[in-house]
Amino acid sequence: MLAKIRQTRDARQVSGDVPIYHRYTLGVAGERFFKAMRDQQQLLASPCPKCHDRLLPPKMYCERCFEETSDDWVPLSGPGYIRSFTVLHRSLDEEPLSAPEIVALVSWEGVRGGLVHRLREITPDAVSIGLPVEPVWAEQRVGAMSDISHFRPARPG
């Protein structure tokens, strides 16, 4: 039953929604990571007892060794650095942004992985890979990535 539609108004469509939303638990590792951000303004990485990598975000297990990470999570101290970045000119709905926004992958020395977050207090042409950056903590923290408001170039001292 193939038929040619000559007028688009003859094409029938039915509209509808799938009305569910999600409430995620953060997981064994996630709870600990986000509570440290909320309560101590601290970022933690989890060490793998086999390969000795430090995982960020921390995980209950190292996927390469398939072993449980050890309990002695390591607080990240000092600035991180930009591993990669991009500059956004349009919003998710493809509307032009009033000012460009920078999204960066931030990591730390000796850590496997990194965090994706916004980079502010810098112009896009001044950003480079390797640039030292530090988190700016939000006033109100709830145990989510938004507990870091954004990253900015690391200040000396």
Binding site: H22, Y24, V28, F66
Partner: protein, 392 residues
């Protein structure tokens, strides 16, 4: 049929089943996989490939569920596949793992099944709505319970089965579940027929204590080729038959009193296993029991009872766990007695058949002699039958 390898089951593992787990889907997979590897006496380095199953992405709420679960399933850097047939996935997982090895491509396979239903809001039941047809069904305000209630009524009235019989299935399975280490709190229990018959009507004739719960959980099994398995000290359990079948998705065009797709899947598995008389050669069975009536419905589809006769056999104790002359059905406690994290529930049934055949089911061990067992799952809109037969 020329398979390159016979396939053995080397170990199994499960997590607890819970209404809501702290663990993320990946963490649930990791937990189950570790127990299975340990049960098999192997490490992840011994594993050549990984298969995972999980039912609709809409539950966990990550819409690339297979890839997302991969590293929790030990698949980092390995050949990996996710397969899907709705609720049939749990048993289908082993079938997928089976052909990875039977084909001769791989010697070992880790099979992981996971479900985290709790994230779906306002209630996980709502996530099922999208499986119905968007034009001819959803606008009526469908809900998952409808299709089970419609099928149960048809089955019940086709044979004149009293409600007490279905209550008895729920009682049996919930009692059996008391001995299962994964049992979801509040699900397993010693309920009287009166308790069950008095439970609230959800969609008549379905009542609350005759329905399995919403659950989070995971399970895993390790498979290996015969030459790999024979190097280990413990005698392996073999996969002797696999079968799978889908009926038309037009479920309203079919007579729901009988699941012919389960029969076709079963026949495929029986033929492969060389079984001409299933009632003689299947010694323990785990039929899929998301609702109490479905266990009986499926036992008939599996040809272990004549049409309409599974209820009568239940009354005679034929399906009891400690039967000597019958076929123990759902010694694990099943979905009604342990819980129903969709894909992981089928895996739980497979693990049970494995442990029963190994004599490791502890307080759930059946009394009679067993050499072969069968696990079956079902899925979607009364559409999917998946069957695995294991033997010593």
């Amino acid at each position: 049929m020329g398979y390159k390898n016979k396939v053995a089951v080397l170990g199994a593992g499960l997590t607890k089943f819970m209404r809501r787990a702290l663990e993320t889907p990946k963490e649930l997979c990791f937990e189950a996989a570790k127990v299975a590897l340990e049960d098999a006496g192997l490490t992840i380095d011994d594993i050549d490939c990984v298969v995972s199953v999980s039912a609709p992405d809409a539950f966990d709420g990550v819409h690339r569920k297979g890839e997302y679960l991969a590293d929790g399933a030990g698949a980092w850097g390995k050949p990996y596949m996710r397969t899907y047939v709705g609720g049939g996935s749990g048993v289908f997982s082993l079938i997928t793992g089976w052909y990875h090895i039977a084909s001769g491509h791989f010697d070992t396979c880790l099979v992981v099944a996971e479900e985290k239903m709790s994230p779906a809001m306002p209630h996980p039941q709502g996530a099922f709505n999208a499986i119905y047809d968007q034009f001819t069904e959803r606008p009526l305000g469908v809900n998952l319970l409808w299709i089970f209630a419609l099928e149960m009524n048809r089955y019940m009235q086709s044979y004149g089965i009293p409600m007490e019989t279905f209550a008895r299935v729920a009682q049996k399975n919930k009692r059996n579940g008391l001995d299962h280490p994964s049992a979801q709190p509040g699900i397993a229990g010693d309920f009287s027929i009166e308790d069950i018959m008095a439970s609230e009507v959800m969609a008549w004739p379905v009542q609350r204590l005759m329905v399995s719960p919403v659950s989070d959980g995971a399970g895993a099994i390790v498979l290996a080729s015969d030459h790999f398995a024979r190097r280990l000290s413990r005698p392996p359990i073999w996969i002797e038959g696999v079968g799978w079948n889908l009926d038309t998705s037009y479920w309203t065009n079919r007579d729901l009193y009988y699941p012919r797709y389960v029969e076709k899947a079963a026949r495929m598995a029986y033929e492969m296993a060389g079984i001409a008389d299933p009632r003689r050669d299947i010694h323990v069975v785990e039929p899929y029991d998301p609702f109490a009536y479905k266990e009986l419905h499926h036992l008939e589809g599996l040809l272990l009872a004549d049409k309409g006769q599974a209820p009568r056999l239940l009354e005679q104790g034929f399906w009891d766990r400690d039967t000597q002359s019958g076929i123990p059905a759902t010694p694990s406690g099943g979905l009604l007695g342990v819980g129903n994290p969709i894909a992981a529930a089928g895996m739980m049934k497979l693990a049970e058949i494995y442990w029963q055949l190994q004599g490791q089911a502890g307080p759930r061990q059946v009394r009679r002699e067993i050499r072969r067992g069968l696990a079956q799952a079902w899925g979607d809109l009364m559409q999917v039958g998946t069957v695995v037969i294991m033997g010593k």
